[in-house]
Amino acid sequence: MAEKAKKNPRVAMPEQDPQVRARNFLEVPTGYTPKMAQEEAARCLQCKKPACVAGCPVEVDIPGFIDLISQGDITAAIRNLWTKNALPAVCGRVCPQEIQCEGKCIVGKKGEPVAIGNLERFCADYERENGTGELPPKAEATGKKVAVVGSGPSGLTVAGDLILKGHDVTILEAFHKPGGVLVYGIPEFRLPKDIVAQEVNFLERLGVKLECNAVVGRTVSLDELFEEGYDAIYVGVGAGLPRFMNLPGENLVGILSANEYLTRANLMKAYKFPEVDTPIPMGKNVVVLGAGNVAMDAARTAMRLGAENVRVVYRRSREEMPARQAEIHHAEEEGIEMYLLTNPTQYLGNEKGRLTGMECLKMELGEPDDSGRRRPVPIEGSEFHLECDLCIVAVGSGANPLLTSETPDMKLNQWGYVMTEEHSGKTTKKGVWAGGDIVTGAATVILAMGAGREAANSIHDYLTLGW
């Protein structure tokens, strides 16, 4: 098997050298050339029943767009992608391909799967740099008004779909800049902000109106939006509620949620402080709690801000780390240490209320728990101290109640997420749909977009046929 893999290796995407990139904010993989893309496209077997498509939550026509790359028609390839996926430049970069499309690719059974994500990214980047920028045709105006609350990937998808169907669309965003997690969470070195800005600009050129600084639930309520004349509302406000671990000492100076740390770094560009006005704590010895994408992003950001060492502390083992493999690999290359099977028990501070370290326990894997993963159990007497002056807590997020608590007729589940009808995204409140992280809990960009597309179809039906 290994022999075969060697014979037909995947075309590697060039990357910045780990030593160099660990101290800058430029994107890590630098992209395929057209020649590389064609070479990689040639590895696809053009399966009749493509397993890869079944692995993609929005069923991108993978063999179809790859075939067009092989033929050298990138313009057609990107148009093929757009029919299923409004943000290929984003998904090509951030989808967990190894458990989705690429994880199912037949070539992967005997070697490395086709680099579907890389090819998707290539098409989108090529179009951005060389395309005509021509707008797709828009249906005749229907005179119906739709409000999209939240400008993350799910909201952007809904806005894009509905404007093309002829509706009048306005996005309301709480932050001063649109893009949701794509701008405030995922760092520049993984997803350049210009790309997100350009996607938003594309929607604006299509006629989507954008109102930033609009905190729905505070500045305006859903009912007031209906009074203002909106016919339908999509709620895509994400899962913006940071979780902490409730350990002693958690409010010491130097302990931040990943949301705060990444928002300072990305949205407020604090990595350029004092050139910009928002500061960010510069840790020397940094600990990041958690092992998902958010944790990897926080750890790699801390390294780039000049940390001497960055440690990821996670209570389970490597196999259970939820982050994309590529991110774990990149993080390790950049010098980030993984303290696996380790659980923090308390924070330690000095008389100035500043963090100086934390106490941790070693864990071992016991019997499987409800999730089917082996439960980590503490090893008695294994306490040890970890010196640190900055700790970033990335142990997940919950449903932010700001909007939902002001909307009592929209039913929530026991965890505070919005309840919706399957495949349509309809909520229990008439004329209101919801999707993305505020429905599923923190998930992925592509799932949030998939939910947006389903809701957009359902909203269109409603606006043309009725509830």
Partner: protein, 278 residues
């Protein structure tokens, strides 16, 4: 963009008033709520309480003390200039109730934050004694407005240059001793709120304070504004900014407010040096 339609300097230019066009916010704002403002593309998001709102003209008014780089930048904005972003209304509104005798205590720019609450307390029929203080006479703000907003205004200065010579807490104690006080509202520097709360606890008078931790989003998504109240962690931007003064961990708040002190100082100094050189 959010245009400044009126600007005043108070307390020898250390305190600035801006009336800003923000019709959507003015329409919804209630006493006790705040906004987050940002000037310029790379500006910081700064929380400030709305001292007045004018629904008819669609404006809100902020009164702030110039303490660091961002407020220094705000100070430069003139009538006709605009804030890039204004977000709100944020935070919970003050819980207003007709109780009887109420004392409102304010120090520094806390007086600006206290003003709309005091006025509302009076409007719903409370008997309001207001005590405001400043280090010295020239730093006192809103005396006239506070006179109007309350039934009885007492003024204190630390140096005795005006009104009672001493702290607001001395005067408050006198009023408390007369009895019958149903509630105290205290807004000002953290040490002042702490001192007030310690005294009112002895008198068993419920006390409301307004906390001003460092904030980023103001919508409950970052947790930077966490404060300990009754041993529990709360997010001041959504659970507050007002809390039961007897339950707040003031010492923790003071330490947390200093998180970026060194950075901010440097940033501010660099800015002033460059500005003055120009």
């Amino acid at each position: 963009m959010f245009k400044i339609v009126r600007r005043e300097e108070m307390a020898e230019g250390t305190v600035i008033l801006n009336e800003i066009e923000a019709p959507a916010i003015a329409k919804k704002a209630l006493p006790g709520q705040f906004v987050i403002l940002k000037a310029g593309e790379d500006g910081e998001r700064i929380p400030l309480t709305m001292a007045y709102t004018d629904k008819d003209n669609g404006t809100i008014t902020i009164i702030y003390m110039v303490v660091g780089k961002s407020t220094e930048l705000f100070k430069e904005l003139q009538v006709g200039d605009s804030f890039t972003d204004v977000i709100g209304p944020l935070g919970k509104a003050t819980h207003l109730e007709k109780l009887g005798k109420v004392i409102c205590v304010g120090g520094g720019t806390g007086v600006a934050v206290l003003h709309p609450i005091t006025r509302a307390m009076k409007e719903i029929g409370n008997d309001v004694t207001c005590i405001i203080g400043a280090r010295t006479k020239d730093l006192l703000i809103l005396e006239e407005q506070m006179t109007e907003a309350s039934h009885d205004l007492r003024v204190c200065t630390d140096d005795g240059s005006y009104g009672h010579h001493g702290f607001v807490t001395d005067v408050m104690k006198e009023v408390l001793e007369q009895g019958d006080v149903k509630q105290v509202v205290a807004i000002g520097p953290v040490p002042m709120m702490k001192a007030v709360s310690n005294i009112t606890k002895e008198f068993n008078v419920p006390t409301l304070v307004s906390l001003n931790p460092i904030m980023v989003d103001g919508t409950g998504m970052c947790g930077g504004c966490r404060v300990s109240v009754a041993g529990e962690t709360k997010f001041a931007c959504v659970d507050g900014p007002e809390f039961d003064g007897h339950q707040v961990d003031y010492d923790e708040l003071m330490l947390r407010l200093q998180a970026y002190l060194e950075d901010e100082k440097k940033c501010h100094n660099d800015y002033c040096t460059i500005r003055d050189a120009q």
